[in-house]
Amino acid sequence: MGGVDSEPPSKRRKLKQSSMAETLADDSIGSKRIKKVEFVRLIAESLHSFGYSNTLSNLEKESGIAVSSGLVNEFIKLVLDGNWDESLNSLRKLSVLDESVVKLASFVILEQKFLELLNADRFIDALRTLRTEISCLSIDQTRVRELSSLLLCSRGNVTKPKPKQEVIIDLQRLFPPDVMIPQGRLVQLVEQALDSQQDSCSFHNSVCVDSLFSDHNCGRSQIPSETLQILQEHQDEVWFVQFSHNGKFLASCSKDKSAIIWEVSLDGRLVVKHRLLGHKEPVSCVSWSPNDDWILTCGVEEVVRCWDVQSGECVRIYDKTDLGMVSCNWSPDGQRVFTGFNDKSIVMWDLDGNEMESWKGEKTLRISDLQVTGDGKFIISICKENMILIFDRGLAKERLIKEDYNIVSFSLSGDKKFLLVSLVNQEIHLWSLDGDVRLVAKYKGHKCSRFVVRACFGGVDQAFVASGSEDSRVYVWHRETGELIKTLGGHSGAVNCTSWNPVNPHMVASASDDRTIRIWGLKGLNSNHSCMCRT
């Protein structure tokens, strides 16, 4: 019978609790064996920053853990008061610190003392400090020389001493963390935990602040999945849709040779604002100006028309005899229009219809998108069947994205740093344009082998990728993980294009061969700007 102690467990526990204060027998908590002493000190630091001094002293008494030594507190107080000499004395009393830290900290303090004296025009005193106190520390001689040059010629803000709080932060960085706890450390740890919860949530699509009481968990309900509205104004296949930058309008264009501007009303429903008629060929794409005042529409191998959004009037026609235009876009400053032609050239125009510059050679293809980034410096288009050209028009330099299969379409992210390329082998590739051009992710599952099917970014922080598909569904992937999250059914024809409202993360529009545009939103909700964190 090995039973060592016959004491009932409850009694044993009570005994432990009472002796906890003195012995700290169990000094680690949680599965990661966090040191209890450190945890209590973090709590105490937070209490201190909130100003709850009574609670703080109670905590120190009950836990028996000295939260921060009296000497350190004194030191901090002296620095905050600007009492440099006294603070140096108390610094030397802190025996926990080793020589080098003491020296570096002294340097920081004396530097502030020097600058203060300089500002007060007490040059002799400043010089004395520099000579006797600072230079004998023999640290950072360059800074010492800089300081001495300041004696001769003061230069504006360089001579101003830092605010005391900043000095404390500098000193905190020098001191080992268990002597002086970094300010706001507990809050920092909590924020890190929240970030990691958000990152692992594949469906995170709302901007509300999480409660700390339970894990962040969006659930599938945050992705638009229910058809809220079916827009049936086009007479033929709808090939392209795009929301304006301010999320207030939607533009659609169709094989019926027209484009329509829709307005998003306050309750989330869309109504026709203007019908843009005039093209003699099916309209293949639209492009919103950066300030959403104008819109460009491109007829297939025809002309590009510029329309005023408010009045619905065609204000300009961009045309070149004997050539047909295939793509159009604005420069980021909204002052220039770029168009691609079916003779593979790209032309830049100004707002009055004058041709400014043209680039010939194999710059673009008959079926190609056109994007302009980098303050108008870079032109992106499909130059060969399996290659995307990033053309620096200032330096006439080219970078290429090469794929193994034909490229059908591409679209740029909101921050212009990523490119979503749709391929004919039914994959969508995500390329990063920042620095070196490289492949980042692949998305699969949809169907795209015959038609021009487009993909787009969307959702909060553009965390999702949506694409049309030839099987009449809209596909939504999580951008980071590449996981296919949802497929939205409802259309009765191939979905050619999708657009996610940049301002309302819960509104998606899709254009289909069945002549309709569907607006998708959250289940059971109008697609207004409410958000639910948890179902």
Binding site: E237, R366, V452, E470, A494, D513
Partner: protein, 130 residues
């Protein structure tokens, strides 16, 4: 159907007889001595703007092959077949290449090829030959 993704071929090319979609370049001809039920056929190393049908095993003049019919992406008419695998060693060179029936395409100068007897034509031909 949506906006068709059509590849434009540069240079002399063969196009679909009905809808003029570019199908293959003259430079990509590998052999001109193939036969199908309706006359001549050419073997091409690369074809464009076609969709591939169901794979099946067919016994041709030169042996057993796994082939799939190919159709014009725009009008859907059958234009030939593509070799998936060849089961005989000396036929392996055909793998991955496609045959376009001369009857189904217009030549680079727009010329067409007429079958001797216009019998009931439903599907593309087989036959094959080096």
């Amino acid at each position: 159907m949506g906006r068709l993704f059509l590849v434009t071929l540069e240079g002399k090319s063969y196009s679909c007889k009905h809808c003029k979609t570019h199908l293959a370049l003259c430079d990509d001809v590998v052999s001109k001595s193939f036969h199908c039920r309706y006359g001549k056929a050419y073997l091409f190393s690369k074809v464009a703007n076609v969709t591939v049908g169901v794979k099946e095993d067919r016994l041709m003049m030169t042996g057993l092959h796994t082939v799939a019919d190919i159709f014009c992406v725009k009008c859907g008419s059958i234009v030939g077949w593509t070799y998936e695998t060849a089961h005989e060693e000396d036929q392996k060179y055909k793998e991955g290449k496609s045959v376009l029936e001369r009857y189904k395409v217009s030549g680079p100068d727009g010329s067409n090829y007429w079958v001797r007897n216009e019998t009931h034509i439903i599907s593309g031909g087989e036959e094959d030959q080096v």
